[in-house]
Symmetry: none
DNA sequence: CTCTAATCGAGACGGTACGTCGCGTCTTACG
DNA sequence: CGTAAGACGCGACGTACCGTCTCGATTAGAG
């Protein structure tokens, strides 16, 4: 058996869904979401316009699915390292993964998907914070989470706009690490 | 007197323009810009729909004017203090002003205008950075500016969503100060 | 002998077909054909949407079969009497049959099926006229046939909209007879 | 003054409205209303699709306006004569008018507009009947009106499908007269 | 009594028309 | 004679049905 549950998803659905994701990603590289029409996405995906709605209620929904997917993948990558309390290594892992998919993440972080990506990362961060955050702090936990996510996004987005190789993975990981550590410093 | 030389602006234009600004601000308190239609703005402002276009090409243009105005006002307030190298006092002044116009700034920072406000603040910050920034730093200047603006926005936006008086002006100014100082620390 | 050999129709087909006929009839009592969707018919009949097309190409086709059936039954009833040249009795037979199935014929004559019913009756009437019609007449035969059918329909449809028993079978048969006779009067 | 009431209808509205009427009439000569799409009407009229809805809610509404117009014009023509109790002359007038606009009336009576035309004529006939109809009659007044309208339509529709000149105006008027008289005969 | 072939359920999909909404331009008639 | 009011072109929206197409699952009736 190829997987424990044979949930039997229609192959056509999978195909269409992938086509939509790819199409949206491609378009996001060129313009923000609000300038992309559903008609356009469908055309690029090679499916009929009305078929789009059989998969997603709005283009934002499609984007959300996309964003959640990617963020989950990214976080899954660095959580194990984080659990070993080695934040530095976690950031290196993260940056390496992103650097390996520069085109994709450029679209995700600097294009029209940024908002959705941010929301998804916020959601996850809040979960993590609920477990690990200290009670007393010079900055309220909730705000600290927002700031962390913001700094992460700013840094990655900035990095991705730079010419590749201009800043090494280690350098960026170092910056990220320092930024995040600063926020969790006591006093 | 400033009358004879200056620009002879038709009183009706001024009135219409103010009505539009006020209308947009009012609407922004309730929903993001993309959900606001020009027809709506015009209706609230009490002017005819097509008249809107004689003042602004798009609703985004109107918002930009609004945002630039307010940011300029805010910055003008704290620049003098900054020039005395007392960043702490500058943040207190800033927070005081914002706290005095909580409703307005809630709309500007947490509503649909946030993007435009951010852009405007970024623009100004880059100018300031060009003059004052150190050459060598653990974090590239350009990125530092982005982070500074981000942190400022996150903090203020978060503050404005809290119940008034939950966090004192001084406390918030302190947080802002610490965040910004962190970014400019050497090493 | 066409019975034992011929056509062994699958019991499932018969069942589905009857369900469709009944469903359409039921719907026709409430609204005209064009407001009835195939999905609706299928739902009422308790069969799957796509199964409909395995029986009829369009909903109009289903209706035509229905209409032809009923008209044939009606005509078969009065033809024998007509052959005895007793038009009066033929109309009484016709009206009696219709009165006995008031609900059904209301749907057929005043609902969305009216057009199909009319077409079918026209078809049959033209056949009859071809055999029995006089050559010379104050009104062209073709037109006379149209008028006959029209008058029949108007009268029956009107009758069926009246409260039952408001007009007796004999009275209506009398009216029908007079109308039709008038058209065939010489001079 | 060019007209007693200066209702001042925008010239563009008039133009568009006429274009729509003409377009629909043209299309009705070729196929029934239900096979005509609003998009088609708009295209033929040379206006944008969405503009159609600024004039009529549905294509049926447009047709109704058309039908009412024409029927009113037709009736206005023969009412004066009818008032002089000369039904024969009234029918001649009617047939003459129709014969002079054969193409138009073919579309109206044998095309997709027939239903609307019929409704409109029925409406007017019922008004006339309310004033002139006898109480006691071998056929109920309401039914008689229906039959009259039906016979009129059948006759005219049939006439219009015949080659022009195949049946003279007088001949058709004679038939119409006889049919209608029959219905009003006592006994 | 099985086996084979049809009917039927299920539903994804391409497609056409619908009617709505908002944009921005351009015309008009009114003060 | 300039400006408000608004008709219009335009294009995306989301919806409803249409009819086609594969799949499997029954299930009937012939061998």
């Amino acid at each position: 058996m190829d997987s424990e549950v044979s949930s039997k998803v229609d192959a056509r659905i999978v195909k269409t869904d992938e086509a939509l994701r790819t199409a949206l990603l491609g378009l996001l590289e060129r313009k923000p979401l609000e300038q992309i029409t559903i008609r356009e996405i469908a055309a690029v995906a090679g499916i009929h316009y009305t078929t789009f709605f059989r998969h997603h209620a709005t283009k934002e929904a499609l984007l959300d699915h996309l964003a959640a997917d990617q963020i989950d993948r990214l976080v899954a990558l660095c959580m194990p390292v984080l659990d070993q309390l080695d934040s530095r290594a976690a950031f290196v892992a993260q940056c390496t993964y992103i650097n390996d998919h520069r085109k994709l993440w450029s679209a995700l972080l600097t294009g029209g998907a940024a908002g959705a990506m941010r929301e998804e990362l916020l959601r996850l961060s809040r979960e993590v914070a609920r477990e690990r955050a200290p009670k007393e702090h010079w900055i309220p936990v909730e705000l600290a989470v927002n700031c962390t996510v913001s700094l992460t996004f700013e840094t990655l987005a900035w990095w991705l706009t730079q010419p590749a190789e201009a800043f090494s993975i280690e350098k960026v990981a170092e910056i990220l690490n320092r930024l995040v550590v600063m926020l969790s410093m006591p006093l």
